[in-house]
């Protein structure tokens, strides 16, 4: 039985576990895979750019003589990460590590985490600023499209009842027990998913793009309010880095959830759009 007829056959009756349903529209799927590639390149080239000056500051200015709130460096043969007054040794991963040829390098992020894999600020910037356009254009198109067709309101905006503390707590407990929605209930995003996606779409993503633009001296001349928004260029650089860390967390949790929820079915739904509803538990 083909997917098409399976979908057609289920239209007449209530959906239940085992049914194949059309879950993701083409723009969502396209955007997802463009983002997967783009974020991968942005994060890795971003880490190479960070390697050029592995220190973060708050305020308008910040350079080597000034106090950094975060620093990745080395002392002797030890790699060190310092956040505020907290210092941890990170030898082998951050600050001091061996490259593919076994040569000891003293850069913040290791070769396997950066684009390109050997030090080049110029090349990393070329990658970063090309894919920055892809990210910004694709995100803007997705925002406009999803507002226009009601995707945000219909699928992502939480219902009042979902925001009740009891409901959220119930969902957290279900997640912790790996007890995921089944049958027709799996068609809708649960409240934790909604909150996660909304905070990425309307929090992390715009903060990332705007803090990135704030680091541009030409943008500071064109839109001086960007500096007021983030509290200075070096604060914007710190926030840009924190947002990147937020994306890494989001991607990590996202991948774990895909694995737990059934990777083949989940990946298929993001490739073809069709998703097989999980069977209801035998009561």
């Amino acid at each position: 039985m083909s997917g098409e007829s399976a979908v057609a056959n289920t239209a007449a009756r209530a959906l239940r576990g085992g049914d194949l349903v059309y879950r993701h529209r083409l723009p969502t799927r396209l955007w997802h895979w463009v983002n997967a590639l783009t974020l991968f390149v942005m994060l890795m080239s971003g880490m190479m750019i960070f390697n050029a000056h592995p220190r973060l500051y708050w305020g308008e200015y910040g350079a080597n003589p000034d106090r950094a709130w975060l620093e990745i460096g080395s002392r002797g043969s030890a790699g060190l990460l310092r956040v505020g007054s907290l210092q941890v040794e990170t030898t082998g991963v951050l600050g001091v590590w061996r490259d593919r040829d076994g040569v000891v390098r003293r850069k913040a992020f290791p070769w396997w985490a950066t684009i390109p894999s050997s030090y080049s600020l110029a090349d990393a910037r070329i990658w970063h600023f090309f894919f920055a356009w892809v990210l910004a254009v694709a995100s803007t198109a997705y925002w406009l499209w999803s507002i226009a067709n009601g995707h945000f309101r219909r699928d992502l905006l939480p219902q009042r009842s979902e925001l009740a503390p009891g409901h959220i707590w119930h969902d957290i407990r279900d997640h912790a027990r790996l007890n995921f929605p089944r049958g027709a209930a799996a068609l809708n995003y649960n409240i934790l998913q909604k909150l996660a996606y909304l905070s990425v779409l309307f929090g992390l993503l715009p903060a990332m793009i705007l803090s990135g633009l704030t680091m541009s001296p030409a943008m500071n001349a064109a839109w001086p309010w960007l500096l007021d928004l983030f509290g200075g260029r070096q604060s914007a650089r710190s926030i840009h880095f924190i947002c990147a860390f937020g994306f890494v967390l989001f991607i990590g949790v996202h991948l774990v959830m895909v694995l737990l929820a059934g990777p083949l079915n989940e990946v298929r739904s993001m490739v073809t759009g069709r998703f097989r509803l999980p069977e209801e538990n035998a009561a």
Binding site: L121, R125, F129, F130, S216, P217, M219, A221, W223, R233
Partner: protein, 251 residues
């Protein structure tokens, strides 16, 4: 257990090695590079559409100054010629303005300091990511260009510098939009003092809407040209030629 862990880790290394050698090949591929670098002109156009041609870079107050203004790149030019200039307090230093101009200039430091000056407290942003705020005083570049009367064929200015990177003299270039910008100055003072050697003594360019490597130090000659193709490797600057840095450094 150890055997399995070692197997897993060598598998992981092999896989990531394959992936990365693939990535590095992609990075070196000319077609990919030309696609990726095409974003530079898109960025320049977009930034110039969004902002006014003469939109000013933010200016700060004396309270915002960096306690120490970091010097970068050449800290002290090599060679006996520069040493001799330094010994004599740059008494014999000349700034030449030539190329596609009707009236070539050769100005002493004293003549330049006697010209109208502009003082601005601005933020210097290194391509590496750090920033320092300093107060710059100098002659607006526009006044030099007006005096030398640019020919209509002039499109860019090349700044020829006294510092060498190996055998290669540093140079940089800007277009006329930035050249005539009110904050674009040939600076001779930093924080109220003569320009320190590390910051480009005796003269440096300030082009405030771009990154640090555009701010040519130790400037000796400003050449008006129709095209950047004939200087160095033709990409418009030392770092552009040698490392593929973007010529437009507004971001």
């Amino acid at each position: 257990m150890i055997g399995r862990r070692r197997l897993l880790s060598s598998l992981a290394t092999a896989t990531s090695g394959l992936l990365l050698s693939g990535c590095n090949r992609i990075n070196a591929n000319p077609a990919v590079r030309s696609m990726l670098t095409s974003a530079e002109s898109l960025t320049m156009r977009a930034q110039r559409i969004i902002g006014d041609r003469s939109a000013l870079a933010p200016e700060f107050t004396a309270a915002d100054l960096s306690p120490i203004f970091r010097a970068n790149g050449t800290r002290r030019p090599t060679g006996t010629e520069y040493d001799a200039h330094l010994q004599s307090g740059f008494a014999g230093w000349r700034l030449v303005v030539d190329g596609l101009v009707t009236q070539p200039l050769s100005l002493s430091l004293r003549q330049i300091r006697a010209m109208p000056r502009r003082t601005q407290i601005t933020r210097h942003d290194c391509v590496e990511g750090w920033s320092a705020i300093g107060q710059w005083t100098g002659v607006p570049l526009k006044l030099l260009l007006d005096q030398s009367r640019l020919k209509s064929s002039a499109r860019y200015l090349i700044f020829h510098c006294a510092d060498l990177y190996g055998p290669i003299p540093y140079y940089e270039s800007i277009d006329l939009i930035d050249a005539f910008h009110p904050q674009t100055i040939i600076a001779w003072a930093l924080n109220g003092q003569d320009l320190p050697v590390g910051n480009g003594a005796p003269l440096r360019l300030r082009v405030e809407r771009q990154l640090g490597y555009k701010q040519a130090k130790y400037v000796q000659r400003i050449e008006a040209v129709a095209s950047l193709a004939h200087q160095g490797l033709g990409k418009g600057g030392y770092w552009e030629d040698s490392h593929d840095y973007a010529w437009y450094a507004g971001i």
